[in-house]
């Protein structure tokens, strides 16, 4: 059973005069003309609505693994675990780019094809639209009774001319053409809603603009994250100041605007229930221009979550925070050192893990230095608690530093830092422990100012902590444009979805005795839902006013 639903038009229902045939059908062209002809056919295919639709689906489908599989760009750890847990398919999926969907060649192929199709579809439509603005509404079709919207012809006591003038009066805001046909027949063609086409074109052009803005951001933008402890700071002069730097395709890091930031202090406020009410980094900064001018002045600012510092083009965000425990170590020769290191938060109550390494212990020379390197490895808890009632296992019950404590395991020996391989700053090299180069010494849970003494008389005291913040510099020269295009996209969409492009025709035929018959037909160019009611009132125009 067919679903032909007469409120919908099929493409061949178009009432426009047919355009010229795509290419002559007389004889098969050969040589370059054949190639050109084939190219034209392919181009027509690519720019058809059906292809656009299929490419849209492919885009949706291709995005799906990006939501379902872990992605390198979001979470390297999880991606790695996934590949390790799926040793057969994992590596294959990885090769095929399934863990980096949005940067993969097949994804790019789909959206490039879609946007090529879009350009190919927009250019001729823009021309058509410009032409439609200039030409008059199309002539009245011969048989109005075959249109999707029509009404029963009505007789009126007016002449054709009178009726036409009266109906014209009722079509004030329509683009209207009157045509006088032989035998006194008058036709009126009226059209409304060309703005819909404007909206549709604006929407589709905005898609192009948005894609361009995204591309520019990917090419010229960059992001760098850096951890800064209280009292510390950084100047964004080169990518190396960042702990992680993600450059755009054409960013080599040589021309970063060198702004400088110092962190005075960091404060987090919590409710009684332990929920954060405020994260506040008190910073001072110099903009690139101030740095270049050698200015001595610094501007103070509170940097908060959801409230970035916007410099010239670059933006500085507060993304995270944590603690660096501080230890004072007194060596056998009497020298003391105060050492501190960033610990990595492991949960929301900021139980943090890490290691403080002392690579050049004082009082030793030559090879002895390496044999007496110290590592203080363990946990830091801002508010200490104990797990399962076991006071030896340190946990954290709140993120506020109300009752800080550490659980520290000390190692002494060769850290294995000389072989050039980079080591995590949050851990020690287990191979050095296994090989016996690093010896496990004391283990102790310490509250503030508690200490422990090692076998050689070294004492380690937990003297305090510093807070650190994770800052991110973001630069995307095109994001303002992306927003502009997003707004025009939405505006165009709303215009296009609320306005219907519709036509109405009247044919007024005199019956020879001073009276006339009025026929009405209507057509909405696009989706018709809702033209009905308006058409009813348009059809009512055909009827003469009741004699009063």
């Amino acid at each position: 059973m067919s679903t032909h639903d007469i409120t919908h038009l099929r493409p061949d229902d178009q009432l426009e005069p047919p355009g010229p045939l795509p290419y002559p059908t007389r004889q098969r062209p050969t040589g370059p003309r054949a190639v050109a002809g084939l190219a034209r056919v392919l181009w027509r295919q690519l720019t058809s609505m059906r292809t656009a639709l299929i490419l849209l689906f492919m885009l949706a489908l291709a995005s799906l693994p990006g939501a379902l599989l872990p992605q390198w760009s979001l979470d390297q750890g999880r991606t790695l675990t996934y590949i390790e847990n799926n040793p057969t398919v994992g590596p294959i999926l990885d090769k095929l780019g399934f863990f980096g969907v949005f940067g993969s060649p097949w994804y790019a192929a789909i959206y490039l094809a879609l946007f090529t199709s879009l350009i190919g579809c927009l250019v001729p439509r823009t021309w058509d639209f410009a032409r439609a603005l200039r030409i008059e509404p199309v002539p009245t079709p011969r048989n109005l009774g075959r249109l999707p919207h029509r009404a029963v012809p009505v007789a009126t006591a007016e002449t054709a001319d009178e009726a036409a003038i009266r109906i014209t009066d009722g079509l004030r805001r329509w683009r209207l053409t009157r045509r006088d046909e032989p035998a006194g027949v008058v036709t009126l063609s009226a059209e409304k809603g060309l703005v819909r086409e404007v909206g549709n074109l604006v929407f589709h052009f905005s898609l192009l603009g948005l894609l361009a803005a995204i591309a520019v951001g990917k090419i010229l933008g960059f992001e760098g994250t850096v951890i800064v402890a209280e009292g510390g700071g950084f100047c964004s002069s080169s990518p190396s100041v960042y702990n992680a730097f993600r450059p755009g395709l054409m960013v080599d890091g040589t021309d970063l605007a060198p702004f400088c930031v110092n962190l005075d202090r960091f404060d987090a406020q919590y409710t009684d229930a332990g929920l954060a009410t405020d994260f506040d980094a008190s910073i001072e900064y110099q903009t690139g221009a101030e740095v270049a001018a050698g200015s001595a002045g610094w501007t103070s600012r509170h940097l908060k979550v959801n409230d970035p510092l916007r410099l010239e083009g670059e933006r500085l965000y507060l993304l995270g925070h944590g603690f660096s425990p501080e230890f004072t170590v007194t060596f056998p020769n009497g020298e003391t050192r105060t050492v501190s290191q960033v610990f990595q938060p492991t949960d929301t109550s900021l139980l943090s893990e890490g290691v403080v390494k002392i690579l050049d212990p004082p009082g030793y020379t030559g090879a002895e230095v390496r044999r007496h390197q110290l590592a203080l490895q363990g946990l830091f808890a801002p508010t200490a608690g104990s797990a399962h009632g076991n006071s030896n296992i340190l946990t954290s019950v709140a993120a506020a530093p109300d009752d800080p404590a550490v659980a520290i395991q000390v190692f002494r020996g060769d850290m294995g830092m000389e072989d050039g391989a980079s080591q995590s700053i949050f851990g020690i090299d287990q191979r050095q422990v296994d090989s016996g180069a690093l010896t496990k010494l004391n283990r102790k849970n310490m509250k503030l100012n508690e200490s422990m003494t090692l076998d050689d008389g070294t004492t380690v005291t937990f003297t305090g902590y510093k807070q650190w913040v994770q800052l991110q510099t973001s630069y995307d020269p095109a994001q303002g444009y992306a927003l502009v295009f997003a707004i025009t996209l939405l505006g165009g969409l709303m215009l296009s979805l609320t306005i219907k492009r519709r036509r109405v025709w009247y044919r007024i035929t005199p019956d020879g005795s001073g009276r006339s018959i009025v026929e009405v037909g209507g057509l909405a160019r696009t989706d018709q839902a809702g033209y009905g009611e308006e058409f009813t009132s348009l059809a009512a125009l055909a009827r003469p006013p009741r004699p009063s």
Partner: protein
């Protein structure tokens, strides 16, 4: 800012009342639907002009209704002198559904006051808001089209959702990390839940379109329960109109989500699983609107696309939130 437990308890009770009301309304509309009687289509073009007055088209009261010619049955109301049972149940169902909707609005508002924030902070609250949006859309459509027999198809999934929400997803009123608040976030979650609700309604309508179409393809047995569904044109119109209402709002919601991300995470688009899924949903609905302008894709094929859109919304709401953790991960279930 303190959490109020008595208001919270009231909110829970109102939610329970809404669930109960929807259950009753569901039963009423089921009776209404199954007791509908089908009349032959008398004037095919009449409904093109005067949508909403289908049942009473040109048929004088009191004329017996004989199912004859066309398989595209129109549903007829019997004379007003004797309101049939089905219609009485229908009216009662509508009234109870309205009451349930009001109770649910009360539940949402008091929950917001109890928590001292917009009540869109976890799965329970989000699901409640979306259910309310679906019901709200249904009520508006139903009040404009009093004879539209789709209540039961909206109420079955929503009532189920309400039960699941009240039991599995329910969490006590709690504050969120106030430090993470941003007004973009609230604009974003509000528009996302409203537009998702309306799109879900649209998807349900499209599902009915598909069912009705299959029924007609099998030869339209007038005694079948499917014959009681509204005509294809009508369902299509309802699905389309709600979709074009919601799609720009959904687009706006995605844009505000990007604005929020720019402020919070330093980048306006991160392709985290929720964003990706929202993008997929958006592309599917763009495809739906496209299909309606593409030769050979109108009718069932575009209805199927809208159904896929519904699936992707539900998937985004439940699967992504509860199974796949991202930057977003609301759930607050664990």
């Amino acid at each position: 800012m303190a959490v109020s437990s008595s208001l919270g308890a009231f909110s829970d009770q109102a939610f329970g009342a809404a669930t109960a009301a929807y259950t009753v309304a569901l039963i009423c509309t089921a009776v209404e639907f199954s007791s509908r009687r089908i009349a032959a289509r008398t004037d095919r073009s009449a409904d093109l002009v005067g949508a909403g007055a289908l049942t009473r088209d040109g048929r004088p009261d009191g004329v017996p209704i004989v199912p004859t010619a066309g398989p595209y049955g129109h549903v007829a109301s019997t004379p007003a002198t004797a309101i049939p049972w089905g219609e009485r149940f229908g009216r009662a169902g509508l009234a109870v559904a309205v009451l349930g909707f009001l109770a649910q609005l009360a539940s949402i508002v008091t929950r917001g006051f109890a928590a001292g924030r917009l009540p869109l902070g976890n799965m329970y609250e989000f699901t409640s808001a979306i259910s309310a949006a679906v019901i709200g859309t249904f009520l508006v459509v139903k009040i404009k089209n009093r004879d539209l027999p789709i209540g039961v198809f909206v109420l079955v999934p929503i009532t189920l959702l309400m039960y699941v929400n009240g039991t599995v997803l329910h969490v006590a009123v709690a504050e969120l990390q106030p430090a993470l608040n941003s007004y973009w976030k609230w604009i974003h979650v509000t528009t996302v839940s409203l537009s998702s609700g309306v799109l879900m309604f649209s998807g349900i309508a499209s599902l009915l379109y598909v069912l009705r179409h299959r029924f007609e393809a099998r030869g339209s047995d007038a005694t079948s329960v499917w014959a009681k569904l509204p005509s294809l044109e009508r369902i299509d119109r309802i699905a389309y109109r709600t979709a074009i209402l919601a799609f720009p709002v959904y687009t706006f919601a995605v844009i505000t989500g990007a604005l929020w991300a720019e402020v919070a995470w330093g980048r306006y688009w991160n392709w985290d699983p929720k964003e990706t899924c929202a993008f997929i949903t958006w592309v599917i609905y763009a495809g739906y609107l496209h299909a309606r302008a593409t030769a050979g894709w109108r009718g069932t094929k575009s209805a199927w696309i809208s159904v896929i859109g519904l699936v992707s919304i539900v998937f985004n709401l439940f699967f992504i939130n509860m199974v796949i953790a991202g930057l977003h991960s609301y759930a607050g279930l664990n």
